[in-house]
Amino acid sequence: MTAVASEQAITTTGPAGAGRPLVAIADLHVTFQRRGRDVRALRGVDLTIAPGEILGVVGESGSGKSVLGLSMLGLLPTEPAPTIEGGIEVCGVDLLRADHDERRRLRRRHLGAVFQDPMTSLNPTMRVGRQLAEVAGTESEAIRLLDAVGVPEPKRRLRSFPHELSGGLRQRVMIAMAVAGEPSLVVADEPTTALDVTVQAQILELLAHLRDELHCSFVLVTHDLGVAAQVSDRIAVLYGGRLAEVGRASDVLNRPAHPYTIGLLRSRLTLDARRVGPLPTLVGEPPDPRAHPPGCAFAPRCTVRTDDCDTAPPVLVSAIRHAGTAACIRLDTPVAEPEASSMVWPPVAAEPGVVPAVRLTAVFKDFTLKQGWRKRDTLHALRGIDLEIAEGEAVALVGESGCGKSTLLRAVAGLHDIDDGAIALGPGARPQMVFQDAGASLTPWLTVGELIGERLRSEGLGRAERDARVLESLRLVGLPAEVAGAKAGQLSGGQRQRVALARATVVPPEVLLCDEPTSALDVSLAATVLNLLGRLRRELGMAMLFVTHDLGAARVVADRIAVMYQGEIVEVGPAEQIATAPTHPYTRALLAAVPGITVPDVEPPVAAEAAVARGDGAPKAKPVEPVGPPSKDRFGRKRRGRRRPRVAALDAVALAAVLVVTLMVFVTPWLAPHSATRPIGEAFLHPFHGSVFGTDEVGRDVFSRVLFGLRTSWLAALVVIASGVLIGGIIGLVAGATGGLVDNVLMRITDAFLSLPGPILAIAVVAALGPSLWHTLLAVMIVWWPFYARIVRGEIRALAARPHLEAARLAGVGRVRLAVRHLLPGAIPATVVTASLDVGNLVLTLAALSFLGLGAPAPAPELGAMAARGLPYLLEQWWVPIIPGLAVMFLALVSNLAGDGLRDLMGER
């Protein structure tokens, strides 16, 4: 297609016949502020959507696809609000100029949305029927809709709650809600990602079917080209916040133009991907939205890049190979097939006579779901598993969610006990696991070097040798040495995955256990990780047990595949055979559901008219321009977001005040002109007539007494808090870390204390022991510690369930070190925040107790007692009781503000 024809083809409004485009996006920029840095989610997107078409928006992490979908709905987050520039018009409404109400009405009348996770996207405490009726209007309409989306027994389902439905049914309900108002446009953001493969196919079919019936447009946002391929009419590929390629589905998939699309298609794990050697991969990772390269975002990874590519991001021009558009200046250069790596990996098979790495014999495992004490249900997770993994062999366990594959993996790792049968491991090092969420398996506050080094502790190596081994393991997984000093949060997803691998292999285990290692990664990264796994296991001679739901990945990585269904292995055999010609009906169903990209190739249509009819691509084909200020097209609108300061000024002042008060504790005798217990002077001197705040009922200087009182209150509060945190913290740590009977007993005691009314008990204790400052402190301490025991224990329990603790246990870390280095630091922030918020409460409680006469006896300067003794003088000499009271208020206010500030500060981190 010539350049001239393409210029004629692309206009903003189509010909009369096709009508105006439903969605017209012009040079859209969306920028968020995160921790003071700009996150540029969209950097100039031009797109139109015609009525009645299904547009697939495909992109990886950082591509901005979700932001694009939310922009079309007018649902971008408002706190903090992003900066939006450019133009976006949906169903005739200018979304940037429209106010909140206009956008809401637009959503009500013309738009629908389906989100990724139907469990969290439906109100858990509201019945399905009621949620549906909000858009459908009447109950009969709701029933009709449920029927239309294929929910069986719709009338009964109206009364169900979301948690009573399966994942697929919940998503159907969401789709029903989305199409209820007969919208013109439905945006579906990863609607099938959280679902099993078999259900996924059905949902996609449903979307296509609804489009045919209702003639609405669909925007299908997804990271999976296969999903987009199944139902899309057109596909738009996003990369680094800009469009890389737009065109008809068949064109983009069969004749891709942009080097990124080409690379993406090639690194897909289809069922005919190469498996006897490393896969072709895209090197590198998608760009960080906080730091884009100045030119084309894909240039760092592109095989046909030139220096011109780095000057400015390319604009969409006619894609030479098909009728759509692509943003690249090198479209005329063919992207060569990556050199088929000459490396050929020899197949691995069991050698007779050699002890297998893992042998499972008749393994059974049940989970009992308990309700308090009573047994409610038994879940038969593993029902007689027999499997053998030879030394150096890779076996993939394939199955859908709930089949028991993860349980089996964890049983081999030693994280679960089994109820029956035997797991025999070979003579080598203990099995190591690579978790699905690699980031969560790395303890956030330890450095990479420390984490990897922990595995070497039992090897008896010197410090220098340990460091050398750590660096070596990093090199093996392709990470630079600097990573050793970084913490998990500073690394990207792909890097974290590699660190987890390095930790697992620094002392190569007999068998490496992988739990869905690629499902959390971008498609372009998955192939790289699989190559890495393949190479590592051959170099280090490890066997591998690899759990996945993806048959394609299984086929590429494994020598043999075992298919699991409901706790049993239904089929096992050589990988190629299982993946292409299985015998068991379940495996065949799995195979059929794998989204392939077999979209029938359509000859490029005669031309210009057809392209005009669809309104393909960008409004204008401009030659590459240097980046300048955003162009003012027909909208030229800009909406600014607010920049939130990191710590509010008020909180900073409060923190400063706290420091001052603490300092005052030491300098009070120098500050106060008169001692609190100095002999009596003249009673009732008015403020400023003899002393700063006046004199109290016995003629002592109120100012100095208040200062001493503040000192006493502050010290008392700090003492009680410190001891409460210490006692409660220790009990909480022991309970949380130990679990079982000790935990139970300690928590029962704590709960008993918590169930009693604290202040009343404190009064009773002090009344029993006799009024004095120390008795009051003791009484309050007795009442306060259970609170902290609960918090610390709660935090520890939450942490104990996190993967990084399991990972540390697997790495061979001892119990004490586990508790101190991997658990405790995680509980500290919450405890500190609670304590800081609690000081204010404590000050008030102590003041109330001393008001009642339960503190130190007179003439000790306790603020509450001063206020109480001044009560009779309230109406005439008001300052006598009021000023001590205001001092208490000042102390509590400063503590509360500082606590809030501390919480905000720690929350931001």
Binding site: L111, S121, T125, L756, I763, N896
Partner: protein, 331 residues
């Protein structure tokens, strides 16, 4: 469901026994011998010993405890050292006043806290300023608020009274002994309005602290809920923001606020004791305050038990309410 309620009741009984045990132990720790104090300073050793034997103070501790609990079940809380009357009688006289004050304060706290939580969670104008004002109010000790309230509303403006429950001469001593309710039942609106006027200042002083805490927890919970996916779904349906907040978000945010309410009831008791002293409100709090300097431990023990039982009861009810409100918990 029923079994859950039974379990909670059993837990409640256990806690009450623990409370009785704690009070009992504390009693043993008091430096003053209750019998000596009762008979007076001049009593001879023999008289004291005889009295001790009569009252059963020389029995082993465990049987004393059992007798004590049995006595409690019959409503026997020993004799007050100060008033020389059975503690139970004293409590019976003073309890209704405190009950009325506490109920008024609880209702006020919940209403105020609820309004504050919702108002500050929505993005209404001036929410930031409101937050600071609330923080200030939450940091004020209740006696400061009471004193300032008296200075302003009584001394300066003369709108509200500063002491007691009622300024009307003949008050109906009706069925409930709650002045407001009795007044309504007897149709005496002058008594009703007068009683309310007396209730406002002390009641609000007790209520503000808890109201702030409830409001803060509700706000934080609402803000979290407004960020969830299902609220995003509700917005995507084009529902008005007020409907999203009230119909979708509120119900799912109540849990922590309910728990906080239960907690605050306990803290309110301490507030009540302080406030009753300031306003000379003839309730249990005043009774306690008068008992403290005289180390009248039986009286304090009685107060602790009654208020403690009330606290435990309220929290059990709240626990049951919370669980029944969440359809995800299958009982």
């Amino acid at each position: 469901m029923i079994s859950f309620v039974w379990k909670r009741i059993a837990a409640m009984v256990a806690v009450l026994l623990v409370l009785a045990a704690v009070v009992f132990v504390l009693q043993q720790l008091t430096p003053t011998d209750p019998v000596h104090a009762m008979l007076g300073a001049n009593a001879s050793k023999a008289t004291i010993a005889a009295e001790r034997h009569k009252l059963g103070y020389d029995q082993p501790l465990v049987s004393q405890y059992i007798d004590y609990v049995r006595g409690l079940l019959h409503g026997d809380m020993k004799m007050s050292l100060r008033t020389r009357r059975p503690v139970a009688t004293d409590l019976g006289r003073y309890l209704p006043a405190t009950l009325e004050l506490a109920l008024f304060a609880l209702v006020a706290a919940v209403l105020l806290g609820g309004l504050l939580g919702i108002a500050t969670a929505g993005r209404y104008r001036g929410a930031g300023v409101l937050r600071v004002v609330l923080l200030g109010a939450a940091s004020a000790p209740s006696f400061v608020l009471a004193l300032l309230g008296i200075l302003l509303f009584y001394r300066k403006l003369g709108w509200l009274p500063a002491t007691g429950r009622s300024s009307v001469a003949d008050v109906p001593s009706g069925p409930t002994r709650l002045l407001t309710v009795d007044a309504l039942l007897h149709g005496r609106f002058d008594v009703f309005t007068d009683a309310l006027k007396h209730l406002v200042l002390p009641g609000l002083c007790v209520a503000i602290g808890p109201a702030m805490s409830i409001g803060r927890v509700l706000r934080s919970s609402l803000v979290d809920t407004m960020r969830t996916d299902y609220v995003r779904t509700a917005r995507s349906k084009g529902l008005r923001e007020s409907i999203v907040l009230l119909r979708h978000a509120l119900r799912n945010s109540l849990g922590p606020a309910l728990s906080m309410t239960g907690l605050q009831v306990g803290l309110m008791f301490a507030g009540v004791v302080v406030i009753e002293q300031i306003f000379a409100w003839p309730g249990i709090g005043l009774y306690t305050v008068q008992s403290i300097p005289r180390t009248d431990f039986p009286a304090i023990a009685g107060v602790t038990l009654v208020l403690g039982a009330g606290y435990v009861l309220v929290n059990t009810i709240i626990d049951v309410l919370q669980v029944t409100a969440d359809p995800r918990i299958a009982l």
